[in-house]
């Protein structure tokens, strides 16, 4: 998964390249609240002393739906076109009860997704630049899919 020809969509979003990538959240020194992505102020108490914290790589699916049309571009910059676009699932994943993260899901079939199921973090390409570089983002996959890979 790591190597040349791939670039993360943004810095300080997830640890990568890494054998076991993790999302990077921000923990408030004053009240302990964890936010994602790591910002400059605590969303609960307004504290400004936040430290990067690695979020759990597994969580439970809190809700989901399907993105059934190609998102308006810009801002979307996936390499697909209106003709080649494939619907993808999006959801909120509850990570240890500390923070809920909105993300793409790798499983596009809603019949194979259930609220409450276990999910795990993966880093996936969502776009390919003209020079062939893959742009990587985070997503969640059903936790039972490891055997299929």
């Amino acid at each position: 998964m790591t190597g040349s020809g791939q670039v993360a969509v943004a810095d300080r979003l997830f640890t990568w390249p890494a054998a076991e990538p993790r999302l990077i959240g921000g923990r408030c020194a004053a009240c302990g609240q964890v936010g994602f992505p790591a910002g400059t102020g605590c969303e609960r108490c307004g504290g400004t002393e936040l430290t990067d914290t690695l979020l759990p790589e597994r969580g439970t699916l809190w809700t989901f739906t399907t993105q059934n049309f190609r998102p308006p571009s810009p801002p979307y910059d996936g390499s697909d076109t209106a003709e080649t676009f494939r619907p993808f699932a999006v959801g909120y994943v509850d990570l240890g009860g500390e923070v809920m993260v909105e993300a793409r899901l790798t499983e596009p079939d809603p019949a194979r997704l259930t609220i409450g199921q276990q999910m795990r973090l993966v880093i996936v390409p969502y776009a390919t630049r003209a020079d062939g570089t893959e742009v990587m983002t985070f997503a969640f996959a059903p936790a039972g899919d490891e055997e299929e890979e």
Binding site: W62, Q67, N68, F69, P75
Partner: protein
């Protein structure tokens, strides 16, 4: 002083090619003035908001440059509600006796294509296809249905009720021929973000 609503005006919802949002709003204000039986020169202050119109207070160029303060309000989907609340406060605080609250907008067809940074969000959120209102509502209602045991048939009945109300309102945008309970148009329509449907009319 207690604030009361003495007149209302509403332009029909719709895209009305060739007619600007500001012209639609000016028509609505004239309807409200006529409804209240007051002239624009009697209005002493106002609040006005829009998403797409960057300078909504320029509407005074159409209504009359009477010199009143017309202040811009922007609060997303709650913009007109904020404008109305502030107009009421202006009367209650004794600032004026007659105030106007105006909301206007006009959007191109399709999902909003917004720059995430304008909403205080990082660029990657839009780049990766997450900054979409329809799937936000799809996710929200799916969790609500899960928590409360609500079925898609129940949602369809709510939609049928709303379309029934719209059919009797000549200002409503979507006024389909009568939609009843169990109408396949409610559950088979285009699905931008399940279970959010779009019923084209």
């Amino acid at each position: 002083m207690e604030a009361v609503i003495v007149g209302v005006g509403l332009h029909p919802f719709g895209r009305f090619p060739g007619k600007s949002a500001m012209d639609m709003a000016a028509d609505a204000v004239r309807l409200a003035l006529a409804d209240a039986g007051v002239g624009w020169p009697q209005v002493q202050t106002g609040f006005i908001g829009s998403l797409e119109v960057a300078n909504p207070d320029a509407i005074v160029g159409r209504l009359g440059l009477t010199g009143i303060p017309l202040r811009g309000v922007f609060n997303g989907c709650a913009t007109a509600g904020s404008a109305l609340a502030m107009a009421a406060r202006a009367i209650e605080n004794g600032e004026c006796d007659v105030a106007v609250a105006i909301g206007m907008d006009k959007h191109p067809r399709g999902a909003f294509a917004a720059d995430p940074s304008v909403g205080g969000l990082p660029d990657w959120y839009g780049q990766t296809g997450l900054y979409i209102t329809t799937h936000f509502f799809g996710m929200k209602i799916n969790r609500y249905m899960h928590d409360h045991g609500i079925t898609e048939q129940t949602l369809a009945r709510v939609a049928a009720k709303n379309f029934r109300n719209a059919s009797g309102n000549d200002k409503a945008w979507r006024r389909p021929p009568p939609v009843g309970r169990g109408d396949p148009r409610l559950t088979d329509a285009e699905l931008p973000a399940p279970p959010v449907h779009v019923l084209r009319t």
